[in-house]
Symmetry: C2
Subunit: 313 residues, 2 copies
Amino acid sequence: MTQDIDILISEVGPRDGLQNTKQFMPTDYKKKWISAAAAAGLREIEVCSFVPPKLIPQMADAPEVVAHALTIPGLNVAALAPNFTGAQRAMRAGVHKLTLTISVSREHSLSNVRMTPDEAIASAKKICDFRDSLPKDKRPIIESGLSTVFGCTLEGAVSEDEVVRMAVASVEAGCDEVGLADTTGYANPEQVRRVFTKVRAAIGGKLSGAHLHNTRGLGLANVVAALEVGVTTFDSSLGGLGGCPFAPGATGNIVTEDLVFMLEAMGLRTGIDIDKLIAIRKIVAEGIPGEPLYGYVPDAGVTKGFVPATARG
Amino acid sequence: MTQDIDILISEVGPRDGLQNTKQFMPTDYKKKWISAAAAAGLREIEVCSFVPPKLIPQMADAPEVVAHALTIPGLNVAALAPNFTGAQRAMRAGVHKLTLTISVSREHSLSNVRMTPDEAIASAKKICDFRDSLPKDKRPIIESGLSTVFGCTLEGAVSEDEVVRMAVASVEAGCDEVGLADTTGYANPEQVRRVFTKVRAAIGGKLSGAHLHNTRGLGLANVVAALEVGVTTFDSSLGGLGGCPFAPGATGNIVTEDLVFMLEAMGLRTGIDIDKLIAIRKIVAEGIPGEPLYGYVPDAGVTKGFVPATARG
């Protein structure tokens, strides 16, 4: 992270958000969104996932979207891949960062990627080895995105020892970073503090960020807990798009707009201009008409006399 | 607080919630709600406010509602009053706890109760003196409910020194407790930690609870911050009713159902049965048809295999 920000927000809307919408957002709108997000100050955007277009047609234009994102100076272009084929496509497209989804829950892993967690680790090793065979300037950072870390809708509780074991295995497989995801919106602040602390004790600085959901309204509460134990990178999604919403109002991903407001109000610099950020909702609303956009701050506005930490410098 | 719970949740829905709805909830529904809330394990309910019925017709049945609540064994019956006349009515009705709203912001105080903050303190002193003139068994606990503590929609930032001064003045006026309210949804977690710590340094154990709003989605995040600095009493409202909602989804009060879920998941006992609590929404929805009820946990359900702290004993 550069020294002019305290917290890195990784916008996952174009990937996690659009992957879960019914409509295909036209490629031009995706490009506009990504450009506007970068212009608002976002330093990292997960722009797409490399999944079979037959399964998720929303991501059929992944290479074109990456190509556009790569033209934006200074932007860290991230993408997700569930397997070796997808990872190869992502690397061919030239992403800077590649996140592999590796589920700690056996049931979730089998239903999501048809591999056991250990098979997913083996796949990650194959991907990392392939990456290492590329010329140096073609090698992306590889993140193990551990999912269902805080609980699983199929299995219920997930063993914290197993989370630690999978984090260590990810590093041993060659991953540069390990992120922890509350895929299911199961996490609570006490658990967030405990699990991040345990994983950091095991893999130190390779622990990267938190991907928290807001399914039960605890998203920002969990951010506060993660901040306390030193987490400085957070995934979030514009308008809370994506992440398996259960019901109206019960969003999946934490809302970037609300997250930025909270952090800036707390005196933590994100480098993001909240007015420009909120203005992006218009592009997204046009690109996927009728899709609900969540968030409190866009409705209520910032507080009177609000001076964001980023503006204070 | 009794030793079998860690956190006292004070349900303010029948007061703060119904005061802000367009419809009058029939008195029988109010009684059913209060009884059901007590049966779900709530130990304290702010059942009404003693305000001029001409101004707030929703509260016209305040004495009857208090009389019903007083029949419920073990329930701490609380009410709010904005001035001496209201406080006298509340004491006549026999409430156990009386909360006086005292705004730290001069502009808000003038527009809300047509008194300056210092005049409101003088009024509190008059009320406390009157209370002390009553027979011992007729004397309620009096709480100074300091409002606009974290910011004001009219004035913007509110001086923390002024908050401390008003807390001390409340105690000197004879109030037994001082609660801090984020009336406007302006608080952020860093500020919550700082302000509660400052006020506790000034008035110690007389600092009672936190009344936090969710206008900008930071309600539960602020609860986490307050827990860290030792706050153990929280106001909340069933379905997030009340508290000046700005827009759909942008609720006022924090939602009791989500708060209870979070605390119990964190291992903190509230004494409340979350299934019984969620079931109360049906009564409320029938009593004020069409009024939106908020909350994430009621939609998403508790997590698979969830064992609340209260059930663990």
